[in-house]
């Protein structure tokens, strides 16, 4: 009988049916897990909706002042900003900007060792349930703020049919980038005893630099460019929202999606690399 170690080869996946079944099972587990947190879903949705009202009024005041001067605020008119705010409030729960500490908690408690024994790569083992969770959030935390926003305000509805599939793809890419970012921030717990600082940095950056507090396009062009190309944060909310409100022509929309895809690949590769390094140095304390 051989030893099972963290660095041993994982069971190979033999055929397509098996991997499809794996994806289905793990994805469904995430969906089911979060569908049982009904009270938490209601509370989070209510909070997102409340902040939707606050941010909408502030953005409408900006649009109003800009219109009084005969212009637009960084290329957004009032209905676009309304859609921007409410879709953004809905997407917080879908991409799950902050509040995910599952991996860091399991590293601290040592439970992470059971993840390493599973016949699935740990990154995939966390990613697939997260996709299921996002699917559930799409049905609940995304739809409610959009509906409330549409009832209370004059919202921008996309004019081009192609925008809808592009937005769907952009949300999926945003989810991948966000998952990878959260995974990396959590993985800091492999090296640090107290990873709260890293997690907090992620929380504040993803909100401020991701386009939640204000559209990144409000910044001077050079600052926006640095953020888009130098950090993954605008790929989390700003890009899907810009695609949705048709801030840019179709070709630029595709370019933005390409940027997101680049960040998704880079960060997911980072997750795999970090996980490999961590497994080589991981010492699980206790018996």
């Amino acid at each position: 009988m051989g030893f099972i170690t963290a660095t041993a080869d994982r069971l190979p996946i033999r055929n397509f049916t098996e991997s499809a079944g794996l994806i289905r099972t793990l994805g469904a587990s995430g969906f089911r897990r979060f569908s049982t947190y009904r009270q938490a879903t209601v509370a989070a949705t209510a909070t997102n909706t409340m902040f939707g009202f606050l941010r909408t009024y502030v953005m409408l005041a900006v649009a109003g002042s800009a219109a009084a001067l005969g212009g637009q605020a960084a290329g957004y008119d009032a209905p676009r900003l309304v859609t921007y705010v409410w879709a953004g409030q809905g997407l917080i729960g879908v991409v799950l900007l902050w509040g995910w500490t599952d991996l860091a908690d399991r590293i601290r408690s040592g439970d992470v060792v059971t993840d390493l024994l599973r016949p699935v790569h740990p990154v995939l083992g966390y990613l697939l349930p997260d996709l299921g969770r996002a699917a559930y959030a799409l049905l609940t935390r995304f739809t409610v703020p959009i509906a409330v926003g549409a009832l209370a305000f004059d919202m921008y509805v996309p004019r081009r049919a192609a925008t809808y599939p592009l937005f769907a793809l952009s949300v999926l890419l945003a989810l991948l980038v966000c998952f990878a970012g959260r995974f990396l921030a959590n993985a800091a717990a492999y090296w640090l005893l107290d990873s709260r600082g890293v997690l907090m940095t992620w929380a504040v950056c993803s909100g401020v630099l991701g386009g939640l507090y204000f559209p990144i396009r409000f910044l001077p062009d050079w600052a926006a460019a640095v953020l888009y190309f130098g950090t993954p944060f605008p790929s989390l909310l700003q890009v899907p929202l810009d695609v949705l409100v048709e801030r840019d022509p179709p070709l630029s929309q595709l370019g933005l999606l390409g940027l997101q895809a680049g960040w998704a690949v880079l960060l997911l590769w980072g997750c795999v690399a970090v996980q490999r390094r961590a497994e080589r140095r991981l010492v699980v304390q206790g018996g």
Partner: protein, 296 residues
Amino acid sequence: MAEPSAATAAAPAGADRTVPVTTADVADAPASTAAIYRALLRAQVRAQASYRASFALDLASNVIFLGADLLTVLVLFHQVPALAGFTLAESLLVFGLAALGFALADLAVGNIERMKQHVRTGLLDAVLIRPLGVLSQLLVLDLGVRRVGRVITSTAVLAVAAYQAGVRPTPANLLLLVVTPLAGAVFFGSVFVATATVAFWWVESGELSAALTYGGRDFTSYPMTVYGGWFRHLMAFGLGFGLVAYYPALILLGRPDPIGAPAWLGWCGPLLALAAAALAALVWRTGVRHYRSTGS
């Protein structure tokens, strides 16, 4: 709030004496209760400060979160010269008053947010059987010393904004500059306590209390003219958030309310704070009476 348990707190000290409790002991009771709280508080501060790196990081992150809100205001004003009729300096005065009031409340009672964890883990059971006030124990047991950073930063923002906005240093204005954040702190503290009480009935209330505490802070951070319709009426007058920063700021700026409310409204903050505190105490007491342990 008045603690009925103050007299019982002295009981263990007097218990091993054979002499009956005299009036002198009873007179000593509040002093010894205060000593217990002082000791608990000192232990908390020492414990938190002993993890130096974590403490410094927490301190910094609190300042950064305030910086994020401040950055938002600055970025918005980078786009437009005025927001709903208010200039940057005027807006920052409103922001500073709200931020300092909130930071003080957050420092004193912000940790009541963790009420739901206390209910779920059963810590509340342990607190309930001790001969000290429930709320005051919870607050002292988990004081957010790190939030001092936020208080200092928002004081600086308020001072700069008051100077930039050209607030005249009359005695009345200076008094209002001091009283408003204090009243705001009591008001926000009441909101913190009242919304945390929801956890007595609804353990998984999650971020719901954040809708009113942080939502209220964001609402008060901008001039009221930004908001419209029923939302403004509900938040400003229905819930009272209008008196936290906006109306006092109007007096300080010496300008009439564009919405048409009388100027004396700016002096009503302390009255509102007292009413809110009374209401929060009532809600809290009802919550404690209805508490049933989760049995964990």
